[in-house]
């Protein structure tokens, strides 16, 4: 049970950290922040990687893992790029001035 109890602490502290991280967000950034946080939630790609690595020669499992990895990376790469695209438009306006 040691992993489990440790993991519960991690879960608790991680949640508290998340609650504290964003207190005051200017409305301008709500959309980019949502999109960025969304990209980070694609961190589940690590689980997909682990699944593939540990599945040995089990073909159905390899395929499930690979599809899962594809979905996660679609989320991660798409999410970060689209967030950057949005934020780039803000910074361009600033440097122009």
């Amino acid at each position: 049970m040691s992993f489990f109890s440790e993991a519960l602490w991690v879960l608790l502290l991680g949640s508290l950290l998340g609650l504290e991280l964003i207190g005051k967000v200017p409305p301008t950034l709500h959309t980019p922040l949502m999109s960025g946080a969304n990209a980070i939630s694609g961190i589940t790609m690590l689980a997909a990687l682990t699944l593939i690595i540990q599945s040995g020669d089990n073909l159905p499992l390899l395929i499930i893992g690979s599809i899962s990895l594809g979905f996660a990376l679609f989320n991660v790469i798409g999410g970060f790029l689209v967030t950057d695209r949005m934020l780039a438009m803000f910074s361009r306006k600033k440097t122009l001035k």
Binding site: G18, I40, F74
Partner: protein, 478 residues
């Protein structure tokens, strides 16, 4: 070889630190772009850590590499293309789509582990019951996130309408039935790790659909934000399934941060999360109490009259809203304001915190149309300036300019922060028809003496306005 463990540990710690800094930085304009990159680097590091650790300890077979690389290439490439191609107006639905895929990924991991339990997730450190329970949570939340996000996207795209049965009480029975079935499936699955799997996944998927389908377009961003939070929870659950602390921290952080963001959005709209989730679409329930009544004194006018008034103005304030975003009229708007500016008319934009299709979306759209950042004024800054304003042009906004929120204590809108446009000398409201805003409440602004309605689609009206202004010779200095 013995160094691999500590190095992996160090990489994980660094990745968590960077992710936290990333989320933090994303909430400040100055640091947002760097923060986004920081978070991306953290993800790369984390993936590298997993690969390095596995290669060094158990080794990664060629098979695995092939499937890792193909999954990465296909998913990554599609993601990159989607991110480059998608128009800025479609941002809410694209966030929903990405988010749904994240949920699907967690679901598939749990599915894989549940179907082939031999693939020991974490070298047996997690007791069987705990692992089964993690699988249940991951499947349940992952399925809701996926089906809910896809429905949200389809509704925002206009591919799905709101079926009438979802507005009646029967939807609650449907949802409760789905929840109960999912619970039964979940209990079965946590006990023996096999049975109930199919029931759980199908029932949770239908629950996601049943909850999201009745929600109206304007409330959808709140739902997407909430689902975003769920996908963090799903990731954390997947972390329990495969035994990864890093995944648990990151998932928990995103889940909690998403919850806060959802709350912030609700506050801006003067809605409670409960009423968004259970109140049904378009405030069908909110017409009770005050705020009703007929319009008595509507003045409508043509784009031509509007152009004449604009020509004579010195200070113009634009109030862009949901309707502008839906009509994709931000570029036409920019052309109109360019003409006005070249005639030495001062133009500013009043941005309500929830303007656009989701909070902050309007800033993105106007930035895309090359509107200078410093012309965008937030509500608290612009409100004292309305009395000194000649013309206010309201484009597809409704509830956010309703004076009832300040004047009428019986109104459901009472207390919501609004833009005081009625203080200006003349107000033009560009709107497709007399239908109410998403709150379903009459807008007293339309009845005022100094308000004129210009009926039509925002893009079309702005196009006509542009023509009229040019015919009047506005801005063409000779």
């Amino acid at each position: 070889m013995t160094l691999i463990g500590p190095i992996k540990f160090a990489i994980d710690l660094l990745a968590v630190l960077l992710l936290a800094l990333g989320i933090k930085g994303l909430s400040k304009v100055r640091s947002a772009r760097e923060a986004n990159r920081l978070a991306a680097i953290a993800m790369l590091l984390a993936a590298f850590g997993v690969l390095m650790n596995s290669q060094g300890t158990i080794g990664i077979s060629i098979h695995s590499w092939v499937w890792i690389i193909s999954g990465t290439l296909i998913g990554g490439l599609l993601g990159a293309i989607t991110a480059k191609k998608v128009p800025m107006t479609a941002m809410p639905e694209i966030v929903a789509l990405f988010n749904g895929c994240g949920g699907m990924s967690s679901l598939l991991v749990a599915l894989g582990v549940a179907l082939f339990p031999s693939s020991e997730g974490s070298d047996g450190v997690v007791s069987e019951l705990v692992r089964n329970f993690s699988i249940v949570v991951s499947l349940f939340v992952g399925a809701i996130t996926f089906s809910g996000s896809i429905v949200a996207m389809a509704k925002l795209q206009g591919w799905l309408l709101t079926p009438s049965w979802t507005q009646s009480k029967s939807r609650h029975f449907f949802n409760i039935l789905c929840a109960v079935l999912a619970l039964i499936g979940g209990i079965y699955l946590s006990i023996d790790g096999q049975n109930g799997l199919f029931l759980l996944v199908v029932a949770s998927s239908f629950l996601g659909i049943g909850v999201t389908l009745p929600i109206g377009g304007a409330d959808m961003p709140v739902v997407i934000s909430l689902l975003n939070s769920y996908s963090g929870v799903a990731a954390a659950a997947a972390g329990f399934v495969v035994g990864s602390q890093l995944l648990i921290v990151a998932g928990a952080m995103v889940g909690a941060a998403g919850l806060i963001l959802t709350q912030v959005m609700c506050d801006g709209m003067n809605r409670s999360l409960v009423s968004v989730l259970f109140g049904g679409a378009l405030g069908a329930s909110s017409v009770t109490g005050g705020g009703g009544g007929e319009y008595k004194n509507i003045t409508s006018c043509s784009p031509e009259e509007c152009a004449l008034t604009l020509e004579a103005a010195e200070r113009v304030v634009i109030v862009p809203g949901y309707g502008l975003a839906v009509a994709q009229a931000q570029h036409t708007l920019r052309e109109v304001t360019r003409v006005l500016e070249s005639a030495d008319i001062e133009v500013t934009y009043a941005i309500h915190p929830v303007a656009g299709r989701m909070p902050g979306h309007m800033n993105v759209l106007l930035a895309e149309a090359d509107v200078p950042y410093e012309q965008l004024k937030e509500m608290d800054v612009i409100n004292p300036e309305f009395p000194a304003t000649d013309v206010v042009l309201v484009l597809g906004a409704n509830d956010v300019v309703n004076p009832q929120a300040k004047n009428d204590q019986t109104s459901p809108l009472y207390g919501m922060p609004v833009l005081d446009v009625q203080e200006a000398r003349t107000v033009f409201v560009v709107k497709r028809g007399m239908s109410a805003g998403y709150s379903g409440i009459k807008n007293d602004l339309f009845d005022l003496q100094n308000t004129s309605m210009v009926f039509g689609d925002a893009k079309k009206v702005l196009g006509d306005l542009l023509v009229e202004l040019k015919e009047l010779g506005v801005g063409s200095k000779g």
